[in-house]
């Protein structure tokens, strides 16, 4: 399968990498002792490592091409990835869902509160990912300022609590709605923009919100932030810190389930189809009678709504907000979750969030290389699986009596 030509190519690749990484990996200068040590063994590792990886990648591509050529004649159903096929079978789907739910429910009792806390963060990112997925994955509007809505939610809880003493449960919907309102506010000026231009404007919007929070001291207390935000209450019950964390965890599980339910139904509806059509071709979409303005604004505001909800929860969880939590990096991570998981696919986004949030947590030992690994994973994904971990599969509909054996099947 692997020819001499490919081996030669890999050899060249590894030589090139040795050359590129030479100053970084081999030369080590000690400025105090004024000595230079040459770590030749590193060079050998780099050479062997890149050689093997390049060969493996080549073999993978060859296999993929073979598979593609074999599948050329098959219909779109045949290309369904294996996870999707499992999920589409009601026989597997419900037991699997029940198992996952059960595992999620007992999780904080088996593992430590610390683990539950990390899991809560992961769940928050899943919901954020699902919200952004509406905007980016389904409606195809590249939004790089998503964190702005997250900030709106967090600050609305912090400020409303500070000034008006409003509780968590009152502010939760208010935060969501305020964020949705900001979504519409951002949506209006960018209605005509698409792709790169939209990305730049939304990026700017995200930064504007953060800078306002940072500099308008009278309003937001500036960089020092707002502290002593109360945790969510449970019918006035007193809770210890541990209990409060576990309560938070269950709260997130609940919110996640609601989110999945709602997002799934939205995607599989008249509105969801309009979003997809908008992503595919804006002009054709309008010519088919879809109101572009309204559809885009709904996408923006619904996406922002979830960010607002999670913002409120974030403020309640950490009991402290300051502008440093809402940098562009957050937007980038949420966007990576959507892209890594698979645009438009709910299962994909869940998986993407778990990978991107949990891996760095558990690989703390390698924390120095975290950003390096992050970048490498994303680059590798774009090369090997541009459609994401789990690509979205279109729904198969059934028609009156004509093909009644194909029951209603969902894409998730």
């Amino acid at each position: 399968m692997i020819t001499v030509k490919e081996v030669k190519r890999s050899l060249l690749v590894s030589l090139w990498f040795v050359f590129l990484t030479f100053p970084l990996m081999v030369i080590k200068v000690n400025p105090f002792e004024r000595t230079v040590s040459w770590r030749w063994s590193n060079m050998v590792y780099v050479a062997i490592g890149t050689f093997v990886i390049s060969l493996l990648a080549k073999a993978w591509f060859v296999r993929k091409e073979n598979r593609l050529s074999r599948q050329q004649e098959d219909s779109c159903r045949a290309r369904t990835p294996i996870i999707q096929r499992i999920l589409q079978r009601p026989g597997y789907r419900y037991p699997l869902a029940a198992f996952l739910l059960g595992a999620a429910l007992v999780f904080p009792h088996i593992f430590s509160t610390y683990q539950a806390n990390i899991m809560t963060t992961a769940l928050m990112y899943i919901v954020l990912g699902l919200g952004l997925n509406i905007v980016v994955g389904v409606a195809g509007l590249l939004d790089l300022g998503y964190v702005a809505f997250y900030a709106v939610g967090a600050y609305s809880y912090a400020l409303l609590n500070l000034h008006f003493d409003l509780g968590f449960w009152t502010v939760l919907p208010i935060g969501g709605l305020l964020a949705a309102l900001f979504g519409v506010l951002l949506g209006f000026p960018v209605l005509r923009l698409r792709g790169d231009y939209l990305a730049i404007v939304t990026l700017g919007f995200g930064e504007i919100i953060r800078l306002i929070l940072e500099n308008w001291n009278a309003f937001s207390k500036g960089p020092s932030g707002i502290s002593n935000i109360p945790r969510p209450g449970f019918f006035g019950l007193e809770m210890s810190l541990d209990q409060a964390m576990i309560y938070m965890y269950y709260l997130m599980i609940g919110l996640l389930l609601v989110t999945i339910f709602v997002v799934n139904r939205l995607q599989d509806s008249r509105l969801g189809r309009a979003w997809l059509a908008l992503r595919e071709d804006e002009i054709a979409c309008q010519a088919m009678g879809i109101d572009k303005t309204r559809t885009k604004l709904i996408a923006f505001s619904l996406g922002a709504f979830w960010a607002g909800l999670i913002g409120v929860i974030f403020a309640a969880k950490t009991t402290f907000v300051n502008p440093a939590s809402f940098t562009f990096m957050e937007s980038a991570i949420i966007l990576s979750i959507v892209v890594l998981g698979g645009m438009g696919s709910i299962v994909g986004v869940i998986l993407g969030a778990l990978i991107l949030v949990l891996l760095p947590e558990y690989l703390r030992a390698l924390s120095e290389y975290r950003m390096l690994a992050f970048g490498a994973i994303l680059v590798a994904m774009m090369i090997f699986k541009p459609e994401g971990l789990i690509a979205n599969v279109r729904r198969v509909y059934c028609y009156k009596g004509k093909k009644s054996n194909t029951s209603l099947k969902n894409d998730e």
Partner: protein, 267 residues
């Protein structure tokens, strides 16, 4: 006039900077009529379609639509494309613009969008009304697919269809918006003779169901067999109109297509 016009265009002008793409064009379409718009490349035919469907805002002139059902008259200038579609004008595109990553059936279902209503709450709660509407949408879309001969490929991605099938799907998608006037922009482009013959049957069938059709086409055989009337354009102006037989012998048309007839000048 036996029938009242459903589309009246008066003095339509479209300028792109210094270039006049449409020059005081007059045109009318009557119910259940097939009108062909022909002319050399760059004559302004597609520009005319884009003005009609709201993609361009005309510089001058009037486009009026009269609904054959209600007799209500409305001016189309300056309306958004989706409003015009809702009023009963649907179109296909010269360079196919399907939603390629959606299934064939979903493409047609998109067409029903302007005739259905459910929104966020309906989608989340999935009320009885929404479910009924969804099922009606699916059934109606499937019927349209059967009409255009694509029901077998209903669950394929639109991008997997052959070229001719994609053109037919565009027509199906346009039909799903329930238009009384259908605009076809080069529907036979790139089709083989068999596909073109099927297309003629399809267009006649659509006409018989009560839709008026305005089409741009370069395939003269198709134009001559299908059309009730032909309008010839050149450099944004209407240079001739009439029945196929009249157009065939019209000197201005021959001149526009073939250049000055040198032989007859010498004679």
């Amino acid at each position: 006039m036996m029938n009242k016009s459903i589309l009246e265009v008066n003095g339509l002008t479209m300028d792109f900077g210094g270039i006049r793409a449409l020059d005081r064009l007059d045109l009318d379409v009557r119910p259940k009529e097939i009108v062909a718009l022909i002319g050399p490349n760059g004559a302004g035919k597609t520009t005319f379609f884009n003005c009609l469907t709201g993609i361009y805002l005309p510089s001058d002139g009037d486009i009026r639509l009269v609904s054959p059902q209600t007799g209500k008259q409305s001016r189309l200038n300056g309306l958004k494309p989706n409003k015009i579609t809702k009023k009963g004008v649907a179109r296909t595109f010269q360079n196919i613009r399907l939603f390629s990553q959606m299934t064939v059936l979903e493409n047609v279902m998109i067409g029903t969008h302007c005739r259905t209503r459910s929104l966020i709450l309906g989608a989340i709660l999935r009320t009885r009304k929404t479910r009924k509407e969804e099922q009606e949408t699916i059934d109606k879309s499937y019927d349209i697919l059967e009409k255009v001969g694509l029901s077998e490929q209903a669950n394929e991605f639109a991008s997997n269809l052959s070229y001719g099938a994609q053109r037919r799907l565009e027509i199906g998608r346009a039909l799903a918006t329930e238009p009384f006037l259908l605009l076809l922009d080069e529907p036979a482009a790139g089709m083989n003779p068999q596909e073109t013959a099927d297309l003629v049957t399809l267009i006649l069938q659509i006409r018989d169901e009560g839709h008026a059709i305005l089409l741009i086409e370069h395939d003269m055989k198709l134009v001559m067999t299908l059309s009730d009337r032909i309008i010839v354009m050149d450099y944004g102006k209407k240079i001739a109109q009439g029945t196929p037989a009249e157009i065939r012998v019209n000197r201005a048309v021959i001149k526009a297509y073939l250049g000055e007839d040198v032989g007859s000048d010498n004679a």
